[in-house]
C-alpha cells in the first residue's frame, strides 16, 4: 500500500502522542491527515511504559497538563467511542517523602495541587499505612496521596485514539519509515517514506526517541536523547497493593496491575544512552532492595520477567512543544522524559492549537525548543 501523494498534515510517530494529535486534529474537522509509524503502534516508549497516571507534580504547568489529561481519560471511552476499555483505574498514587526536606517540598506541592483543584492530601506515615498496609512506616517521614491518580492501559489507549482517528478519516501507515524530509526556502515541502513521497507543508515530529533523527533530516538539532529504563514484574498475586507507591529519593514506582502482577521501575543514570532494550541483573538487584525496604512483605514474591524501553529525555526532563525555528511547518511533540503517556490528551490539544493558530488551553510557550539555547530550563524534580 503506497502513501497518498499529498497530505494537509503528516504526523511522524505512532505512539500515544502521535495518535492523540491525529485524533484531536481530525476531530476539529481537519482532512487529509497522514500518520506514519516505522513499526507498530505503541511499539516505542508508549507500549513499554509503567502506565501510571498522576496529577501530583511540583510544577504548576505539569499539574495543569496532567489534570487536563486525567479529565479526558475519565471519559476517554465515551469521547473516543471505544468499543473496548482503556482501563483507567483511579486507584491512587501514594508518594513517600524519605526525609524532612522532601516532606517540606511535598507540603508546598499539595498546597499548589489543591489550589488547582487536584484533591491530593498530606499524610503522616501512619495515615499512609491505612492506605497501603504493606508499607514500612519507619522508612519515610511523610507522604502525599491522590485518589484520582491511577493507571491506564497504554495499548488500549493508543488503539482507542488510532481507531477514533481513522473513523474521522486519518490514514495511518504502519511499517512505514520516514527516510527524508524535503525543506525548501526553510519551509517543509514533502516527506519521503519507504512507501513513497507525500507533499505536505506541515509535519508533526512525535517520534519519541527517534525525534532527533527526524529533526536531523531537516538540518535541525532537536536536543533530545534516549535512555534505557527497565521494569520488572512479579508473578500474579491476590490484590494486596491498591495504589501506586512512589518515592523520588527512594527512586521507585511500584504498582499492582489488575491482572495481579506487581510491576516496578526506577531510574539509573548509568543506563545506556542508546536504543538497547536488553534487560540486566543490576536493575533487579537494586530494584528488589528498594522494594523490600519500603514494602518488606514483597521480598518473597517471585520475579517473573523484565522488560526495557526508552525515555525520550531532554535536559530539564520536560517536553518540547511547538514550532521549530528555521523550519516552517515542523511542529515538535517530543522529549517527554518518561511522562508522555499520561500527558497525551493535553499534548494533543496543545499541539493542535499551535498548528491551527488558536489560543492555547494551557500556556506552554516556555516549553518551546528554544529554551535550551536561551538557557531558560524548566525543571521538575518530582520525577522517577
Amino acid at each position: 500500500m503506497s502513501v497518498p501523494k499529498s497530505a494537509s498534515i503528516v504526523i511522524i510517530g505512532g505512539g500515544v502522542s502521535g495518535c492523540a494529535i491525529a485524533w484531536n486534529l481530525a476531530n476539529r474537522g481537519i482532512k487529509d491527515i497522514v500518520l506514519l509509524e516505522k513499526d507498530t503502534l505503541a511499539n516505542g516508549s508508549t507500549g513499554r511504559c509503567g502506565a501510571g497516571i498522576r496529577m501530583q507534580w511540583a510544577a504548576e504547568k505539569n499539574c495543569r497538563l496532567a489534570q487536563y489529561s486525567v479529565n479526558f481519560f475519565e471519559n476517554g471511552n465515551e469521547i473516543l467511542g471505544y468499543e473496548r476499555d482503556i482501563e483507567f483505574e483511579q486507584s491512587g498514587y501514594l508518594i513517600v517523602a524519605a526525609n524532612e526536606k522532601e516532606a517540606e517540598q511535598f507540603k508546598k506541592n499539595v498546597k499548589l495541587q489543591n489550589s488547582l483543584g487536584i484533591p491530593s492530601v498530606y499524610l503522616t506515615p501512619e495515615e499512609a499505612r491505612e492506605i497501603v498496609p504493606l508499607i514500612d512506616t519507619s522508612q519515610f517521614v511523610a507522604a502525599t496521596f491522590c485518589q484520582k491518580d491511577g493507571h491506564l492501559n497504554p495499548f488500549h489507549t493508543t488503539d482507542a485514539y488510532a481507531k477514533a482517528a481513522e473513523r474521522l478519516g486519518v490514514k495511518i501507515f504502519k511499517h512505514t519509515e520516514v527516510i527524508g524530509i524535503e525543506v525548501k526556502n526553510r519551509r517543509i515541502e514533502s516527506v519521503e517514506t519507504t512507501r513513497g513521497r507525500i507533499a505536505t507543508n506541515i509535519v508533526v515530529n512525535a517520534a519519541g526517541g527517534w525525534s532527533k533523527a527526524i529533526g536531523a533530516m531537516t538540518g535541525v538539532d532537536i536536543p533530545t536523547y534516549v535512555q534505557r529504563h527497565q521494569i520488572m514484574v512479579t508473578e500474579p498475586l491476590e490484590p494486596i497493593l491498591n495504589p501506586m507507591v512512589m518515592g523520588f529519593s527512594y527512586n521507585i514506582y511500584i504498582q499492582q496491575v489488575p491482572h495481579g502482577s506487581i510491576i516496578m521501575g526506577r531510574s539509573d543514570n548509568t543506563e545506556p544512552l542508546d536504543f538497547r532494550t536488553t534487560s540486566g541483573w543490576k536493575f533487579v538487584e537494586e530494584m528488589t532492595k528498594t522494594c523490600s525496604k519500603l514494602l518488606p512483605a514483597l521480598k518473597t514474591a517471585n520475579v517473573l520477567r523484565q522488560w526495557a524501553g526508552h525515555y525520550c529525555m531532554t535536559e530539564d526532563a520536560q517536553p518540547i512543544y511547538g514550532p521549530t525555528p528555521g523550519v516552517e511547518g515542523m511542529y515538535l511533540a517530543c522529549g517527554f522524559s518518561g511522562h508522555g503517556f499520561m500527558l497525551a490528551p493535553a499534548t494533543a490539544q496543545l499541539v493542535s492549537e499551535m498548528i491551527l493558530g488558536e489560543p492555547l488551553t494551557i500556556d506552554v510557550s516556555n516549553l518551546d525548543v528554544g529554551r535550551f539555547e536561551r538557557r531558560e530550563l524548566v525543571f521538575e524534580h518530582s520525577v522517577v
Binding site: L134, E235, P236, L237, E238, P296, A297, K299, T300
Partner: protein, 106 residues
C-alpha cells in the same frame, strides 16, 4: 504407592529411599527420600495440583523443571511454591492453591 514409580529402568537405577510422611489437603501420604513434592503426589495418584486462579480449570504436573507455574501449591502456608522442583521434606503440609496467592508476610 509404588505402581506409578519406575522400578526397572534400562539405564538408571532408582534406589528406594527412606519413607517421608507428609499431608496433602489434610490427607496423610507417603513419599520417598529424593522425591520432589510433585513427584510424591504423582506417585500417590494425585493428578490435580491446583486450579487456575481465573479459569478455575485444573492444573497438573507439566514442565517438571520449575518454569511453567502449573504446579504452584501452598506448602507449609507459603503460596506459589513450585512443587515440581521443591524437595519433599518430612511433615510438609501441602495444599491445593485456588487463587493467585500472597507473599508470606501478608
Amino acid at each position: 504407592m509404588g505402581d506409578r514409580r519406575i522400578t526397572d529402568h534400562p539405564i538408571l537405577d532408582f534406589d528406594e529411599g527412606e519413607v517421608i510422611h507428609f499431608t496433602f489437603d489434610g490427607k496423610p501420604m507417603e513419599g520417598r527420600e529424593g522425591d520432589t513434592i510433585a513427584s510424591a503426589l504423582h506417585a500417590n495418584g494425585v493428578k490435580v495440583l491446583g486450579y487456575h486462579f481465573k479459569t478455575k480449570r485444573p492444573r497438573g504436573f507439566y514442565c517438571a523443571i520449575g518454569n511453567c507455574s502449573a504446579c504452584l501449591m501452598i506448602v507449609n502456608g507459603k503460596s506459589n511454591v513450585r512443587t515440581c522442583t521443591e524437595p519433599l521434606l518430612p511433615g510438609m503440609v501441602v495444599e491445593k492453591q485456588l487463587d493467585r496467592g500472597v507473599p508470606d508476610d501478608v
